[in-house]
C-alpha cells in the first residue's frame, strides 16, 4: 500500500520534471525576448538587465540554475518586466480569485446543465429533448467573447444592481460566472444526456419499470447515480480549463484572475512566469489525479495488490 503511494508520488514528480523541461525549452524557442520593447533599450543597459536575471548565460547553465533555485530555495523566479515582483506572488494573488470564479461557474453549470441533460434523456427524441439540449447548447456554439459582452450589455447595463465589470462589489462575480457557467453547462448537459441514456437502457431499469415504479423515482433513485458519472468526470477537466483558459472572461469583466497571466506571460515572453504557471497548473493536475487515485485505492481493496 505504502509502496503504491510512493510509486504514484514518484510518477507525479517525474511528470512535473518533464513539464518543466519541456516548457523551459519551448519558451526559449519563441522569437523575441522579454527585453524587446518599443523604445529600444540601450545595449549596455540590456547587458546589465540580462546579467541580473541570468538570461545572458548559455541555455544548459540557465536550466540548471533554474532547477537548483526551484528545489533549494523553492523560488520560481522573478517577473522580468516587473521589478522586484516574484512569480510566486503573482500566483498567490490570482489563484484564489480564479478558484472562486471557477467554483461559482461550476455551480451554475451544474444547476443548468444536469437538469437539462437529464430531462432531455428522459424525454428522448421528443421536442422537449431538442429544446432542452438546444437551450443548453448556446454555450457551446457562441464564443465567450460574444456571450460575455451580450450579458454585460443587457444584464449589466440594463440592471442597475449589477456592475458591468470589476471584482469589488458582492455581485460582481455573477456575470462572469454565468458566462463561464453557460459554456460548461452545455458540455455537462450533453454528457448527462448521454450517460443517462446509457443507464436508462439497462436491464435493471427495465425491471424497475416493469415493477411499476413511478418514472421520477426510477430516474432519481436508480438512474442518476450511474448516469451522471460521465458528467461528473468532466468537472475536473472543466475546472482545470477554467483556471488556465479564463483569459477572455477576465478581460471582458475585469476579473483579477490567473487566466490572463497565462496569456500575457506568453505574449510578454516572461520566461519564469510561464514556467511557474505551467508548473503550478501541472502541480494541481497531478495532485488532483493523485488524490483521485488514492481515493479509489482506499475505496476499492482490489486495487491495493499491484
Amino acid at each position: 500500500m505504502i509502496r503504491i503511494i510512493i510509486n504514484r508520488i514518484g510518477q507525479g514528480i517525474v511528470t512535473l520534471f518533464v513539464l518543466i523541461t519541456l516548457t523551459f525549452f519551448l519558451v526559449r524557442a519563441m522569437p523575441g525576448s522579454p527585453y524587446t520593447e518599443e523604445k529600444a533599450i540601450p545595449a549596455h543597459t540590456l547587458q546589465r538587465m540580462k546579467e541580473y536575471t541570468g538570461l545572458d548565460k548559455p541555455l544548459p547553465v540557465q536550466y540548471f540554475r533554474y532547477i537548483k533555485n526551484l528545489i533549494v530555495n523553492q523560488d520560481l523566479g522573478d517577473v522580468i518586466k516587473k521589478d522586484g515582483v516574484k512569480v510566486s506572488e503573482i500566483i498567490a494573488e490570482s489563484f484564489p480569485v480564479s478558484l472562486g470564479l471557477g467554483v461559482m461557474s461550476i455551480g451554475i453549470a451544474l444547476m443548468i446543465g444536469i437538469p437539462a441533460g437529464v430531462i432531455a434523456a428522459v424525454k428522448k427524441n421528443t421536442p422537449i429533448d431538442f429544446l432542452c439540449l438546444s437551450g443548453a447548447m448556446v454555450g457551446i456554439c457562441l464564443p465567450s467573447f460574444v456571450i460575455g459582452p451580450l450579458l454585460a450589455v443587457f444584464a449589466g447595463l440594463g440592471l442597475k444592481s449589477l456592475n458591468v465589470a470589476g471584482w469589488a462589489s458582492p455581485g460582481d462575480w455573477i456575470l462572469p460566472a454565468v458566462t463561464l457557467g453557460l459554456i460548461n453547462a452545455a458540455y455537462l448537459a450533453r454528457l448527462a444526456r448521454g450517460g443517462m441514456l446509457d443507464v436508462l437502457s439497462q436491464d435493471y431499469i427495465r425491471t424497475a419499470r416493469a415493477k411499476g415504479a413511478p418514472p421520477s423515482r426510477i430516474v432519481i433513485r436508480h438512474a442518476l447515480r450511474g448516469g451522471l458519472i460521465p458528467a461528473v468526470a468532466f468537472i475536473g477537466p472543466a475546472f482545470a480549463g477554467m483556471i488556465s483558459g479564463s483569459f477572455v472572461i477576465e478581460t471582458i469583466f475585469q476579473v483579477p484572475g490567473m487566466g490572463q497571466h497565462f496569456v500575457n506571460a506568453a505574449t510578454d515572453r516572461e520566461f519564469f512566469l510561464i514556467q511557474g504557471l505551467v508548473l503550478f497548473y501541472g502541480f494541481l493536475i497531478v495532485g488532483a489525479n493523485l488524490l483521485a487515485d488514492l481515493t479509489q485505492i482506499a475505496l476499492n481493496p482490489r486495487l491495493r495488490k499491484s
Binding site: N125, F130, C141, L142, L150, S201, S244, G282
Partner: protein, 309 residues
C-alpha cells in the same frame, strides 16, 4: 427470413431516423457548399474591397447582408471567413486525429512496456494547460511558416493572394494538432485493446499476417466508429479555439478573415450595428450546432447498446 444486415447498414438506418442528425447533415452540406463553392460564383463580391463611401450600409439587393464599417460586403466576408474557419476546424482536427490514431493504435496494439511508456507520456502531457501551449507553439512556428510561404511562392510562382491565406494558417494547424491529439490517442488505444482480444484477430495472427497488416487492415476499421464520432465532436471545439486565438490576435490576423474575427468585430460594434454580429454568428453557431447534433446522432447510431430500444 430477415434480410441480412451489417453493422454499417444498421447504423445508417438508425441515423436516418434521427431527425436532428439528418437536418444537421443537410445544414452542414449547405454551409460547406456556400463557403467553398459560393465564392466562385460571379455575383459574390470581393470581401476585401474597401469602399468608405458605403460604410455600415443596411442589407439591400446589392449587399445581401449589408456592409461593415469599411464598406466591405458582409455576405462575401462571411463566406470567405467560413472557408478559413472550416478549414482550420477540419484540417487542425485532422492533424490531431491523424497523430492520435497512429499513436494510440501503436500503444494499444503493442501493449506491455511500450504501451506503458507511450501512455505515461500522454498522461504527462495532459497536465499541460492547453490554451497556453497552443499559443506558445503558434508563436514558435510562426516565423518558419512565413519563410515556408515565401519558399512556396518562389518555387511555384503562385500568387501570394492564393497561397498566403492558407499558409498563414499552418502555425494554427501545427499548434492545435500538436497539442490536441491526446484525447483521441487514449480513445483509440482503448478501442484497439478491446478489439485486439477478439477472435478474428487471433485468427489473423495464426494465419501469419504481419503486425502492421493486422493493425491497419483488420483492427483499425473496427475502431473507425469512435474515431468518426470524436472527430465530429472535436471540430466545434477547435473552431471555438480558433475564434479565441483570433480574439487574442494570435490566430488568423486581419486583413485575413475568419468567422472568429467577424464575430469579434461584430461583438465590438454590437450596439452600433448588430447585423455585423448577427450574420457571422448565425453561420458559426449553426455549423457548431449541426456538428454537435450530427455527432450525437452518429454516437447513437453506432453504439450497439442503444439498439436495444
Amino acid at each position: 427470413m430477415e434480410k441480412g444486415t451489417s453493422l454499417w447498414k444498421d447504423a445508417w438506418h438508425r441515423l436516418a431516423h434521427n431527425r436532428a442528425a439528418i437536418v444537421s447533415l443537410f445544414v452542414l452540406i449547405l454551409i460547406l457548399l456556400l463557403c467553398f463553392i459560393g465564392p466562385l460564383m460571379p455575383f459574390v463580391k470581393s470581401p476585401t474591397a474597401i469602399n468608405l463611401a458605403n460604410s455600415a450600409a443596411a442589407p439591400s439587393f446589392d449587399y445581401w447582408f449589408g456592409t461593415d464599417q469599411l464598406g466591405r460586403d458582409l455576405f462575401a466576408r462571411v463566406l470567405y471567413g467560413g472557408q478559413v474557419s472550416l478549414l482550420v476546424g477540419l484540417v487542425a482536427t485532422g492533424v490531431a486525429v491523424f497523430i492520435g490514431v497512429i499513436y494510440g493504435a501503436i500503444a494499444g496494439y503493442a501493449g506491455g512496456k511500450i504501451d506503458d511508456l507511450l501512455m505515461r507520456f500522454v498522461d504527462i502531457l495532459f497536465a499541460l494547460p492547453f490554451l497556453v501551449l497552443v499559443i506558445l507553439f503558434a508563436l514558435v512556428v510562426d516565423d518558419p511558416a512565413s519563410r515556408f510561404t515565401d519558399w512556396i511562392i518562389a518555387k511555384t510562382g503562385f500568387a501570394r493572394d492564393r497561397v498566403a491565406p492558407i499558409t498563414t494558417l499552418i502555425p494554427l494547424f501545427i499548434a492545435i494538432g500538436a497539442i490536441g491529439w491526446l484525447t483521441i490517442a487514449r480513445i483509440v488505444r482503448a478501442q484497439v485493446m478491446a478489439v485486439k482480444k477478439q477472435e478474428f484477430v487471433e485468427a489473423a495472427v495464426s494465419l501469419g499476417l504481419s503486425r502492421a497488416r493486422i493493425l491497419f487492415r483488420h483492427i483499425l476499421p473496427n475502431v473507425i466508429g469512435p474515431i468518426i464520432i470524436y472527430t465530429t465532436l472535436a471540430v466545434p471545439g477547435i473552431m471555438l479555439l480558433e475564434s479565441v486565438l483570433s480574439f487574442l490576435g494570435l490566430g488568423v490576423k486581419p486583413p485575413n478573415s475568419s468567422w472568429g474575427i467577424l464575430i469579434k468585430e461584430g461583438a465590438d460594434r454590437m450596439e452600433v450595428n448588430w447585423l455585423l454580429l448577427f450574420f457571422p454568428s448565425i453561420f458559426f453557431a449553426s455549423t457548431l450546432f449541426a456538428l454537435n447534433f450530427l455527432g450525437d446522432g452518429l454516437r447513437d447510431a453506432l453504439d450497439p447498446k442503444s439498439a436495444k430500444d
